[in-house]
């Protein structure tokens, strides 16, 4: 379970507080949810997602992951938290260019110390689920955008994190690939029981999720 209480975030430019990016956010996301942070550009979706994913700090308020407060953790503790508890899908895929698809998918498992056989079997299983099993030996730069995004999803899900955070995962995909990706994400949610939180204003995503949290100007306006 993820719980946010009175979270505030400012973006500073010089000395003055220029942008109040998150205003007094109170939010609870239960285990197994398939939810969306939605709103216009600049409303704070990505900032909130980054704060939940311990990628960025907040100025005040508290964020709990399974009753563990993550806002007080050090940089390295947050990195380890991301490694062990979370999976990320980024808008621009962010795959490691020097690693093959197979190595990219298994990378987090390897960092977490899974043994090689377990990694191999899990990579195969996830690749089949996301229909990229024939691309395992390819390098990311030889794949299409849709294929790269599926590899990113496979990497995020392979190590069975508690939560997957996906920031605009369909932004670089055409409609066909967007629908396919959302179908796969829903299957992962249903079959693997993974909590998935999107940040997006894409209609394919809006149509697919079970809960929509609307933000505007840094505040939750509808849930």
């Amino acid at each position: 379970m993820i719980q946010l209480t009175e979270v505030q975030k400012y973006f500073y430019r010089g000395e003055s507080r220029e942008v109040h990016a998150l205003k007094n956010i109170n939010l609870t996301i239960e285990e197994g949810e398939f939810s969306l942070l939605n709103g216009p550009s600049g409303c704070g979706k990505t900032t909130l997602l980054n704060a939940i994913g311990a990628l960025d700090s907040v100025d005040s308020g508290k964020i709990y992951l399974d009753e563990k407060e993550i806002t007080t953790l050090s940089e390295d503790e947050r990195t380890l938290l991301r490694l062990n508890e979370m999976g990320f899908v980024f808008q621009s895929y962010n795959l490691v260019p020097v690693l093959s698809v197979e190595e990219n998918i298994g990378f987090i498992m390897k960092l977490r110390g899974f043994d090689d056989n377990e990694i191999k079997n899990r990579v195969k299983e996830v690749a089949e689920l996301l229909e990229i099993q024939d691309k395992l030996q390819s390098l990311p730069n030889t794949l299409s955008g849709g294929q790269q995004q599926r590899v990113a999803v496979a990497r995020a899900v392979a190590s069975k994190p508690k939560i997957i955070l996906a920031d605009e995962p369909t932004a670089n995909l055409d409609s066909k690939n967007s629908i396919a990706l959302m179908n796969m994400m829903r299957r992962l949610n249903e079959e693997e029981g993974v909590t998935i939180l999107f940040a997006s204003h894409d209609e394919y995503v809006i149509e697919s999720v079970r809960r929509i949290i609307r933000l505007n100007d840094g505040s939750i306006v509808e849930d």
């Binding site: 390295d76 990195t79 380890l80 991301r82 062990n84 990320f88 962010n94 260019p97 690693l99 960092l111």
Partner: protein, 405 residues
Amino acid sequence: MFSLALKNILFYRGRSITTFVLTFFSALMFIAYVALMDGSHGSMLKNALKVYTGAIEIYKKGYREEGGNDYLIEDVASVEKVLSKIEGISDYTSRYETYGLLSSKDRSTAAMVAGIEPQKEREMSELYSTLVSGSYLSKDSGNCLYAGVDLVKKLQVKLGDEVSFVGSASDNSFAADLFKLCGTFKTGAFEFDSTAAFLSRSYFDELMYAKNKASYINIRLDDLDRVDAVNEEIIKQLDPQYESVTWKVLMKSMVQAMQVDSIFGYISIALFFVVIFFVIMIFGFINVSSRVREFGTLRSIGLTRGKIRLLLFNEIFILSSAAILFATPIGAYIAYYFSLHPFVMEGISETYKDYGVVSDEIPLAFDLFTISWNVAVIYLLNFLSIIYPIRYINSFKPVEASHHV
């Protein structure tokens, strides 16, 4: 991390090749340069010590400052008995040096006349091998004088001519004799060749009343690198009326010249390293800054700053090791080959003749320990060059790095 580092090296070929080539040439040049510097100094030293000065010399305290008959070693045998028991000494010989007037029919000049043990000197110094004309001395060569070519020129004598000597015996009595010029030598050191003349001790001791006496004892070592240790041992065992000094003291001016030469050598190599360091660092920085997003991704998905550091250290370690692996055997071979087949630099002996250098050959020094520290320096340089790029990349927050353009 190691396998990821290897993949990065193969993927970012441009930077990898540049780092490899720079490290390769740095290592190669460093090994060869240090070998040349050490080799030339070693050669200077070897030549100089071979001519006349010993690796270690024993004097009665006061002789080196005051000279004269009051500071002679009065019991050579007892000192030699001590020396015979010390490890690391390969040979020793006593010399009795005096200054007097040598005169031919037409000319006179002050000279250093020394009584030597001809057979031992033949092994220990270059006096025999620098023979130019006539013959070298022997135990029974009587009043035969073996003189430097420039001294002979001054006296205007030729082989077989008689030369008179007037001086002071060891008991300060008047000593005079007639010597016969039997041989001449040329070491190349003008000062030495124009003032030195030698006689066999068996004859000279009678004339100078110098039996079992000596101005000093000259010592040769098995291993010149152990000179300080052996000297310490000699001092420990020797009667305190004597002093034992190494070539470093005896040839102070040469030591200083070598030190100055080394300093300039290391300054020029340090400048070279500064350039190499910055080139490697700049290439490393360019490479790292073009991969900020990639590092952002790695940080986002779970690589700590420590692991990023390890990754970049692994990359530079692999590249350095590969370059050093190629450069070291080549550099070592160059050092080894030229240690056996020295360079010949025409005129070098003329330049350094004051230090007793008699050869134009400059060998390289082949020493595995030196090569090892050369390699260690190159590794260190490469590791240092990656510190700034690491600090730069780790200064980003993951989210900043992920969105870096």
